[in-house]
Structure formats: C-alpha cells, structure tokens
C-alpha cells in the first residue's frame, strides 16, 4: 500500500490526540477522586448512586424526627416520674392524716399540703414542648387536665415515622393515665375534702384509690419508656443503614486511585515513546537527496 505524507502525519496526529484525551480523563479521575461524576461516565452506576443518595437523605430526615420525638417522650417521662413521686408523698401524708394521734388542726395542714400536690399534679399534666401539650393526645393546643380534674385532651393519632417502617405515636393520651380506672385529681380532691371536713370513719378506701392512682401513673410511665426505647432503636438502625449505603456508594462512585494512577503513568510512557518514534520515522526523506 502506498504511504503518503498526509497518511503519515494524519496518523500521528490521531494517535497522539487519542492518547491525550485518555490522559485527560484519567487526570480528572485522580484529581476528583471520582470514577462516576456524570450519568454518561457509567449510566447504571449513576442511577444506583442517585437512589442511594435519595435514600440517605430520607434517613437523615428520620434522624431529625427522632430528635423531636425523643424530646417529647423524655419530657413526658420526667413528668410522669415526678408525678409518681408526689403521689407517693400524698400517700405518706394520707397515712399520717389517718393516724388517730392527729387532731383537726393537723389534718387541716395535711389537707393544705395535699392541695399543693393536687395543683402540682395538674401543672405536670400540662407539660409542654414547643407550645405543644405533651399529654393531650392530638388536641395538643389544650392542657390535659381541666380545672375539675377531668381529661380534656384528645385521643392518640400522631404517628411519626422515625425509621424505615418504624412508626411511634408522639401523641400521648393523658386520659388513660389521669382519668382511667380512677380519676387521680378526683381521688386527691376527695381526700382533701374529707381531711378538711373531718370525716374519718373510713380511710382505707382512700389508700386503695391512691394506690390505684399510683399504679395508673406507673403503667403510663412504662408505656412511654417503651416508646422511647423504640425511638432509640430506630435511630441505631438508621445509622447502620446509612453506613452500609455509604460503603455501597463508595464502591460505585469512587476511583480506585492505585489503579488509575498506574494506568496514567503507563499512558505517559506510551505517549513519550510515540512522540520519539514519530520524530525518527518522519525524518528520512528523499528531499534530503534532491
């Protein structure tokens, strides 16, 4: 086959051009650390990466909600803990008041302290986080316990997804705790009235009612504790999923630096060789003889 000048020079230009393009691509990979930065780099890998990123964003959102729910549950738990404590104190006072050695004046003082506990209980029932009453169920804009001690909140029904498929109700039905088998405020009011009025014929029922009240509050405490645990579990699970997603993403997206750099060095050598060879092969020509 005849070899013409245009062939020789054209061939050289094409060859070198291709090598330089390849070199540029590898340089970009090394400097960015990424093998896939655009869909056209690897369309299917990019699609998977996009899905991973979307999912990761979702998990980050769960994390935010976890914080919000944890705060509500923690405040509720604390309030219930304090409620248990003051009910224990109420029982102590009642036992004291029922003791025969007490006179009318003493009982009136006990009644006063019990009144203080009654008001404290109502206050605890009105615990709030960010203007949302914690024990009022979905009626979060209204305090849980009314003046007369009845529950004026709403039912539960504020499920929050805190992890994949894990939903926790952030609304707490205070009614089940304060106004269930017994109405806690009612029990306290009864005792206060009887101590003030001096009716002491039968006192055991007071203690029975108080015990029931304490149990009600304690059961509520346990339930809320369990919810809190579920939230923490969801948080840990989310972290695990995020980690494994990050690993998968790395294997898809990131450049294997060792491999890329060695390819780059090999290419540089080929380029040098090509340039030198071209110099020597283009020189000899009959032009020198003419």
């Amino acid at each position: 086959m005849r070899i013409t000048e245009q062939h020789l020079f054209g061939h050289q230009t094409r060859r070198l051009g291709k090598m330089r393009a390849e070199q540029l691509k590898l340089q970009e990979q090394v400097s960015s650390g990424k093998r896939v930065s655009r869909p056209s780099d690897d369309p299917d890998a990019y699609a998977r990466i996009a899905r991973i990123d979307f999912k990761t964003q979702g998990i980050d959102s769960y994390t935010q909600r976890v914080e919000a729910v944890k705060t509500r549950m923690t405040v509720a738990e604390d309030a219930l803990f304090q409620m248990s404590n003051i009910l224990v104190r109420a029982r102590e006072l009642t036992v004291q008041g029922l003791n025969g050695s007490q006179n009318e004046g003493d009982r009136k003082l006990i009644a006063q302290e019990l009144q203080g506990i009654r008001e404290h209980f109502v206050q605890l029932g009105a615990s709030e986080v960010d203007d949302q009453y914690v024990f009022s169920g979905v009626k979060s804009n209204v305090a849980a316990i009314a003046e007369d001690g009845s529950y004026q909140g709403g039912p539960e029904g504020a499920l929050v997804e805190v992890g994949e498929g894990i939903k926790v109700d952030v609304a707490i039905n205070g009614g089940a705790i304060f106004d269930g088998e017994v109405n806690v405020i009612g029990v306290l009011d009864d005792i206060i009235a009887r101590f003030e009025g001096g009716d002491l014929e039968s006192g055991d029922d007071m203690l029975v009612s108080l015990q029931k009240a304490e149990d009600q509050v304690s059961r509520g405490h346990t339930r809320i504790g369990a919810r809190l645990n579920r939230v923490i579990l969801a948080e840990d699970l989310g972290e695990e999923i995020k980690l494994s997603l990050a690993e998968e993403r790395q294997s898809l997206a990131d450049a294997d630096l060792a491999d890329t750099i060695s390819r780059m060095l090999g290419l540089e050598q080929s380029l040098q060789a090509a340039v030198q060879v071209s110099q020597s092969s283009l020189q000899p020509s009959l032009l020198q003889i003419l």
Partner: protein, 459 residues
C-alpha cells in the same frame, strides 16, 4: 533515417520530460493540499505512421482516483457527524438534569420529608412555614430546569437553518461545476482542477448530510440523499428548507413554484440529521419527561392533601397548582390556599384529630418510595433517574460510536490516500528519473547538431 528526425526525437523528448517534471513538481508542491488528487500522465513512445520512430510524448495527465473508498469515506464521515453533532446537546442536557448538587431529587425529598417532620408537631406553624419554603425552592427548580431545556430549542433551529444554507450553497456550486466540466471536457482531456473541487465539495457535503453521488458519461455528477431525493442533477440544484423540527425540499430550479416536499428527518444523516434528532428527540423528550415528573408529583400530593383539614378547619385544598400535564414543570406553583398561609396546610384527614393528627402528613411523606400511577408505577426518584439514565446512555453511546465512526473515516481516508495521495518519495524519484531523461534528450539534440555540422562541412 533523416537527421531532422533525430533532431525531432530530441526535441520531442525535451518537451516530454519537461512536461513530466512539471507534473511531478505540481504534485510535490501540492503534497499538503487537502483533497488534492495526484495527477499522472503517461510517457508514451511516439511513432510517425506505423514505423518511423519519433521519440516520446507526455500524455494527458489524469487524476488517479479511488471512487469506491471515496464513497465509503463520505458515508463514514456522515455517520461520524451524525453522532458528533448530538454530543453538545446531550452534554448540556446532562448538565441540566444531573447537576452536581443532585438537582431535583434532593429538593423533592425535602418537601416530602417536610411533611414527615410535620407529623411530629402537627399543631405547629414553624414546620409548616419551613415546608412552604422547601416547596417554593422545588417549584423554582422545576421552572429553571424547564426554562433551561426549552432555551435549547431556538439555537438548534438556527443551527439547522445555517446548515441547510451551507448545503444549498454546496449544491449550487456542484451544479455549477457540472456545467463547466461538461463544457471543458467536451474538447477532450480532463478538467482535473474542476474535478478536484467537485470531489472536495462532495466530501464537505457528506459532513452535513448522507449523500450518494453518481457520475454520468458526460462527466456531470448527480447527488441524492439516502432517501432518494435528488439534491443535484446536471446543472440543477434543489433547495432545502428547515423550520422548527421539520425539513422540506423545494424542487430543482426548473420548477420553482412547486410545493415543498416534506423529508423524513430521521433518514437525513450527517450533522443536519444530528441537529434534527437533537431537537425532535433529545430536547423534546427531556422536556416531556420533566413535565411528566412534575405533573405526577403535584397531582399525587394534591390528591392526598385535598382530603385533609388545615389548622383553620378548611378542607379540599390543593398543595400545588398546575395547569394540566402540558408544561407542568413550567406552570407548577404553590396553591393559593397555602401560599403565605401556613395554617392552610393539612396534616390530618380527620377533622376530629386537629391539630395534632398526622395521618395525612405521613401518607404524603411515604410518596418517597411509592409507585405513582401517573408514572406507570414508578416512584418519583425512579422517574427522575430514568431521565438521567436515558441521557447518560445516549451520550455515552454517541461518544463511543462517534469515536469508532471517526476511526473508520480515517481508515477509508488512508485507503483512498494510498491511491490518490502524493508520496514525496515517489515524486522526487520520478523527478530524478525525468531529469536524466531530459539530460539525455539534450545530449541527443547536441549529437544531432554535431552530425548535421559534420555533413554540412562535407559540402
């Protein structure tokens, strides 16, 4: 044998070798001229009558052509151009639908997650306000993407127009040369330069459209498109017209008033074919897909939101407003009922569960992974990443195939050049050879002259 004949032989030879050297020099001088086809004339031995030797003449130089490789090269060039021509459009589309920060996907995620967060404090206003901000950001991004893709249309139309203008110009030039050539060659001999020019014009034309060239006995070439429509026949050239996404051909000059014929843009090839494909398939398709995603998202959210009750007790509100599926990404906006009115956002579908109920907010948040009817069962992220994937694949494929078509073009170019191209080694060794001949001829003339003198002195 007469001495005059001897002189004659010498003179003829001098002329012949001078002509031969001229031709080789011409070739050598044009070694770098793109599209130059080497000329070759034959040195033919001359005889007067049947047997009287008369030396040598230098015959008519002709171009040494390889039409088969030329045709293959043009076809490969058309193919390479038809692929390369789409690459800039696809690269721009890729940058729009798959920007570095993720583009639409994370912003859609923010809106859906905004509802998820609302569930944790449905009685509050802050979460609603921030949800409105996220939604407005998403709306803005839809608008921007739509506008960016739409703005690609006008430049493509202008490209098509300028490419068509170039094609029409080349067609006219070829038609013109056809006429000149027929006249020039009617007296015998080859109009090499005209033929070279015409061949170069055909090469150039093949970059714009895929053409077939057929040479007739009278030397004119007719040029037609892949679909068979004729661009040039004899001295007549047709006119191509480009409008938005369509290509027409007005008949050859003999019937200028005939109605333009519509051509199939998918069978045009070359850079013009690429421009039409970019316009009709790539850009139009991307716009349609974007609108489809916007419509599906807005309608899916609205369907749920309408069932809900805002903090103000109102129901039946849309969250987004869209003017139908066409241009949805352009017309999408926050609905009047919620814009600037956070209380209008619903989190529950049960009026008795106000303000803290979260059932509806959760249903909207769950659209993250849910298949949407309006996307044929695909989720919103699948719809978006489907668009990215399509463009990415088209681009990767175009780049790949363009490179290999380009290699093919180079291969045929070399094969063609092997026949048509100038080799300096060849020309120079020819020049040396002819120089010898010239010297010999000159010596011959001297010898004849001396012999003549000898005779004359005898007289």
């Amino acid at each position: 044998m007469s001495l005059f004949n001897l002189m004659n032989i010498g003179t003829n030879a001098l002329g012949a070798y001078r002509g031969a050297i001229e031709q080789s020099s011409h070739n050598a001088a044009n070694v770098g001229t793109p599209g130059y086809t080497r000329r070759r004339g034959n040195l033919q031995s001359l005889a007067l009558g049947r047997s009287v030797p008369a030396g040598v003449r230098f015959g008519d130089p002709r171009r040494i052509v390889d039409n088969i490789s030329a045709g293959s090269m043009r076809e490969a060039r058309s193919r390479a151009s038809s692929l390369e021509g789409r690459i800039p459009t696809l690269q721009t589309l890729e940058a729009i639908v798959a920007p570095e920060d993720g583009g639409l996907a994370p912003r859609i995620g923010n809106v859906l997650d905004g509802f998820g967060r609302l569930a944790a404090r449905a009685g509050g206003l802050e979460e609603r306000s921030s949800l409105l901000n996220e939604a407005q950001t998403l709306v803005n991004m839809f608008h921007t993407s739509h506008a960016q893709i739409l703005s690609m249309k006008a430049p493509l139309v202008r490209s098509a127009e300028s490419q068509v203008a170039a094609i029409n110009d080349i067609s006219e030039q070829i038609a013109d040369i056809n006429g000149q050539l027929t006249r020039a060659e009617s007296t015998g001999g080859e109009a090499s330069d005209l033929r070279d020019r015409r061949a170069n014009l055909l090469d150039e034309l093949s970059g714009f459209v895929n053409v077939r060239a057929l040479e007739h006995k009278n030397g004119s070439v007719s040029v037609s498109l892949e679909s068979g429509h004729t661009l040039v026949t004899g001295t007549n050239a047709s006119e191509l017209i480009a409008t938005d996404g369509n290509l027409y051909q007005r008949g050859i000059k003999s019937s200028p008033n005939s109605d333009p014929v519509k051509l199939d843009t998918e069978r045009v090839g070359g850079r013009l074919g690429a421009t039409f494909e970019a316009y009709n398939e790539d850009v139009t398709g991307a716009l349609e897909d974007l609108n489809e995603v916007a419509y599906a998202l807005a309608e899916s959210i609205n369907e749920i939101h309408r069932e809900g009750y805002g903090l103000d007790g109102e129901t039946g509100r849309n969250f987004f407003e869209i003017d139908g599926p066409l241009g949805a990404a352009n017309t999408i906006r926050l609905a009047d009922g919620v814009k600037g009115n956070p209380e209008g956002i619903a989190a529950t579908a049960d009026s008795n569960a106000l303000p803290g109920g979260s059932d509806l907010a959760n249903r909207i948040a769950e659209l993250r992974d849910k298949g949407l009817d309006l996307l044929d069962g695909a989720s919103v992220i699948e719809g978006l990443s489907g668009l990215q994937n399509l463009i990415g694949r088209e681009l990767a494929q175009a780049e790949d195939e363009a490179a290999s078509a380009s290699d093919q073009e180079a291969l045929f170019k070399n094969i063609r050049a092997a026949t048509e191209g100038v080799s300096l080694d060849e020309e120079i060794s020819d020049i040396l050879r002819y120089q010898r001949g010239f010297e010999a001829a000159g010596r011959l003339v001297q010898v004849a002259d001396e012999m003549m003198n000898t005779l004359l002195q005898m007289v």
